[in-house]
């Protein structure tokens, strides 16, 4: 199939409008079905027993008493999930994370699970499972874990990425490095150098819907899985691999998803539910509690970052360097690597070097969280950039504009940029009225930039035209933020019909070819490309059918504004045929009309944003208030601008929570002390002002409509923007996220004490 994905610069009719979403009515009436809203006849209740210890050897698990409890239909341990990963280290870690194999590696690590007739019996059964633990020393802090004296979490880990393989194991799984030029020389040319260390605490994606699934395995080896996920095809693959099933016999249906933000890209409970169902011979519903969500799913990395940036008197950055240490939980990851790639991506640098260290700790396995790893790196870099601008004596926006990357700049992670939006977002911020608004006492303004790559990936879409001319669009990327609306707009645009004529659904894994997850801001980018391709294939058939109806050559038929038109003087008397008219006749002209598309969407456009915020700090208590917040971001092309605004606002709000409140707090015993929304406080309505947005549209040359991803970049600048605002308001540089009142107060008092 020859599909040309290049940007065509066309004028739009549907794309760029703001219709009501197709899943809206179900969501405002309570009818939409999420993970926990589905039930099967005869289903059992699944519950998971979790380690209360941060690090412990599991000597023995005795499940006999639990098995004898009336109403218990299955009890499983790691023994029921044999290792079928065949040397695939990453999948082995997933398996081990689903059910501890020999060692519990964090507070909350699953060690056993039961399926019983009701929740009460299941809970009782968990209490009857006897686990004999041998406690091991633990480490939860990222800097502590790097010390030579730290307890070793996995003695088979020898740091990768070093010139020579280390002789001893450590908690550092990998070192990665990016950059170009010669930073030593660059710093030699600097008139001013800022050097600082920063820390960020671990946060959770905080989706309001806990993980939930219903698994049903039949004795013939077929199975169904209903689950809230960002990627049901990926879940199918992973579950099939871990359970030794054939992927095609496992049908996975994605429910409505109650928030994911990266946290629903990984399996946890699903293989356990399938194993329970297989053993019990009945469907099993497994829903995590909020406590389990915090202790065992998510979270993002805790980090420790050193930054050094130098500039000449004229404000040109001469060298930039960062060392980034990211916690991965107890399994190898590539989180610092991403941080090291993104850290300086906003800038045009001759000399840049970043080094990342992946660090094991006794905390839950790190999961992606919206532009994973980028916000922490941006916090450190953008804080230092602000400080450097002050040293140089330049306005922070002017300083950034002077050093901003542009088309042709070699990015800090390697490739040369095409057309990009960092400069325009900075210019827009500079001229935004927010920048000139007056500030009161104890108030400070901050701004910061952010970058995210955006992904494409494997995508498969079906477009079926009904006999009445209505169009059903089946996509395989889960709708996390309104993509059914945006993809319907794209189908309507390409076919030349009304938005209301299109109905988009997310198809299950048995109805459509494989699709990668909705992650990396790829949902609308990739699936719109596949939808355009499918629509073009359908148009080809529509033209053929029109040619048949007219009995002329298909070469004389063109498609315009939802109609087939016979071109050329010899067909001058033929009226145009609508999509509906062609569809109505389809039974006589060759049967159903459909367009199919399978492709790898490449060339996702990188995305940049600039945020501005005003914060008031109470110098007596360290409490903060967000007074005003503005997001400027490049969307490439906003397919449904209201939902693009929603992504900008939502990402900003998550970043505000991260900057000011949210953190995992571990006790000396290695246990998580705040696994609930009362003590892990995400922003509520009264914490925030309206969040102003400005959408810029710098077309992505690799998408027919110029679309870039929009979902993730908005969480990248807030940590730094707020840190800069708080630092300006309080008169003291804040280097530790979250800037909770005690941390701010301590910083103010330390400054007062001199």
């Amino acid at each position: 199939m020859n599909f040309d994905p290049r940007f065509s610069g066309r004028k739009f009719t549907s794309v760029g409008t703001r219709p009501i979403r197709p899943d809206g009515v179900d969501k405002v009436t309570g009818r939409a079905r999420y993970g926990a809203d589905f039930n099967m006849a005869g289903q059992l209740v699944g519950r998971v027993l979790r380690s209360p210890h941060a690090h412990a050897k599991i000597r023995k698990i005795d499940t006999s008493k639990a098995e004898k409890l009336p109403g218990v239909k299955a009890v499983i341990t790691a023994a029921d999930l044999p290792d079928l990963t065949d040397g695939d280290a990453a999948m082995y870690d997933v398996l081990d994370n689903c059910m501890a194999r020999g060692k519990a590696l964090y507070d909350g690590h699953a060690v056993a699970a039961v399926a019983a007739v009701d929740a009460r019996t299941a809970r009782q059964a968990l209490k009857l499972i006897e686990v004999d633990y041998e406690l091991l020393p633990h480490v939860t802090d990222v800097d502590e874990a790097m010390k030579h004296s730290a307890p070793l979490i996995n003695d088979a880990i020898f740091t990768e990425g070093l010139e020579e393989k280390p002789v001893k194991p450590s908690n550092v799984t990998k070192r990665s490095q990016f950059g170009h030029g010669d930073v030593h020389q660059g710093f030699g040319h600097a008139d001013f150098i800022v050097e600082r260390s920063f820390k960020t605490e671990q946060t959770h994606q905080g989706y309001i819907e806990p993980h939930a699934c219903v698994a049903s395995v039949s004795s013939d080896g077929t199975a169904d899985l209903w689950v809230c996920t960002q990627g049901h095809f990926v879940y199918r693959q992973h579950c099939a691999q871990l359970l030794g099933m054939e992927a095609s016999k496992l049908r996975v249906t994605s429910s409505e998803i109650g928030g994911g933000f990266g946290g629903k890209t990984h399996v946890w409970a699903e293989p356990v539910a399938l194993a329970l169902s297989r053993k019990a011979g009945r469907p099993v519903k497994l829903v995590m509690t909020r406590d389990e969500v915090f202790r065992a799913s998510g979270p993002t990395s805790a980090t420790s970052v050193d930054v050094r940036i130098g500039a000449r008197k004229d404000g040109t950055i001469t060298a930039a360097e960062a060392t980034l240490r990211y916690s991965c939980g107890p399994y190898a990851g590539s989180w610092a690597e991403i941080g090291a790639m993104t850290a300086f991506a906003c800038y045009r640098l001759d000399n840049v070097k970043t080094v990342g260290y992946e660090v094991l700790v006794n905390r839950p396995k790190t999961a992606a969280y919206r532009a994973p790893s980028a916000p922490m790196a941006a916090f450190a870099v953008e804080s230092a950039v602000d400080e450097l601008a002050k040293e140089v004596g330049m306005d922070p926006v002017e300083f950034r504009i002077r050093n901003a990357a542009q088309e042709g700049t070699r990015s800090s992670y390697g490739p040369v940029y095409g057309p990009i939006g960092i400069g325009p977002t900075l210019e827009a911020a500079k001229s935004h009225p927010h920048m000139k608004a007056p500030l009161g006492k104890n108030q400070g303004r901050g701004m910061a930039c952010g970058f995210w790559f955006n992904f494409g990936g494997q995508t498969c879409t079906d477009l079926n035209i009904g006999m009445d001319g209505s169009v059903s669009l089946a996509v395989g990327t889960v709708d996390v933020g309104g993509s059914r609306a945006s993809l319907s707009l794209v189908a309507a645009e390409e076919l030349g019909i009304a938005y209301e004529q299109v109905k988009a659904i997310v198809a299950d894994t048995s109805s459509l070819g494989y699709n990668d997850m909705t992650d990396g801001s790829r949902g609308t980018f990739s699936s719109s490309m596949a939808t355009i391709s499918a629509a073009r294939n359908a148009i080809k058939i529509l033209r053929e059918r029109a040619a048949q109806m007219w009995d002329i050559s298909v070469d004389d038929v063109v498609w315009e504004n939802g109609h087939a038109i016979a071109k050329g003087e010899k067909h001058g008397n033929l009226g145009r045929l609508s999509l509906k008219e062609i569809a109505v006749a389809s039974g006589k002209t060759g049967g159903p009309i459909a367009g199919h598309s399978e492709l790898v969407a490449d060339g996702a456009g990188v995305s940049f944003a600039t945020h501005i915020c005003d914060i008031e700090v109470d110098p007596e208590t360290g409490a903060t208030r967000v007074l005003r917040y503005t997001v400027v971001q490049d969307a490439g092309k906003a397919v449904h601008p209201t939902y693009v605004e929603g992504q900008y606002q939502g990402g900003a709000a998550q970043g505000i929570g991260w900057a000011l409140n949210e953190e995992y707090i571990y006790g000396k015993d290695g246990r998580l002390q705040n696994p609930g929304f009362l003590d892990y406080r995400i922003p509520v309505c009264s914490d925030l002002p309206m969040i102003d947005t400005q959408i810029l549209e710098i077309p992505n040359p690799n998408h027919p409509y110029g679309v870039r991803g929009v979902g993730e970049t908005s969480i990248v600048p807030p940590l730094a923007a707020i840190a800069n605002a708080v630092s300006n308001a309080a008169g003291v540089r804040m280097t530790h996220i979250p800037m909770s009142p005690p941390r701010i107060l301590a910083a103010i008092e330390a400054k007062r004490a001199g």
């Binding site: 405002v28 933000f261 509690t289 939902y643 509520v684 309505c685 009264s686």
Partner: protein, 158 residues
């Protein structure tokens, strides 16, 4: 454990059910009565996704026992629209795109309905504090506040 027989009114309909003494009203609604519009986001009264109105009072149904509904009036999201006519709040949430994933939406709508019943002309600040018991992780609340403001002005005019 012996079940408790409960006779109550839900969305105007007389309903009878048996529940366990320690069973929450949320579990009764969802698991026994098939009213899954109220969601469990936390089970500890912190997220508001399970909000219902119990005798004109906004409550988290995860903090109420099923047995406590005896002889009382329960309003859930399923009773908010009149037939196929959406409540103005529901309509405005759609028009303002005040929902993304939608899991918190039933709770917000119930809380907003309760707020406007008690204060038909709230300021932005009153809306923000009135809805502070409901968590939303997707929207940043901006469009939710605007939808409630718009619904309030429509309802005043009606």
């Amino acid at each position: 454990m012996a079940g408790v027989a409960v006779s109550t009114t839900i969305n105007g309909d007389h309903v009878e059910y048996l529940c366990q003494p320690d069973e929450t009203l949320l579990d009764v609604l969802r698991d026994r009565l098939g009213l899954t519009g109220a969601k469990e986001g936390c089970g500890t009264g912190d997220c508001g996704a399970c909000s219902i109105i119990l005798d004109d009072r906004l409550v988290c149904s995860c903090l109420v026992l099923g047995a406590e509904a005896e002889g009382r009036r329960v309003e859930t999201i399923e009773g908010m629209a009149h037939g196929d006519k959406l409540h103005p709040l529901q309509q405005k949430f759609l028009e303002h795109a005040a929902l993304q994933c939608g899991i918190c939406t039933p709770g917000f709508l119930i809380a907003a309905k309760d707020l406007l019943a008690k204060n038909p002309d709230p300021t932005e600040e009153e809306i923000r504090f009135g809805l502070a018991g409901n968590l939303c992780r997707c929207t940043g609340y901006d469009k939710i506040v605007r939808a409630v403001q718009d619904a309030a002005s429509v309802m005043k005019g009606a």
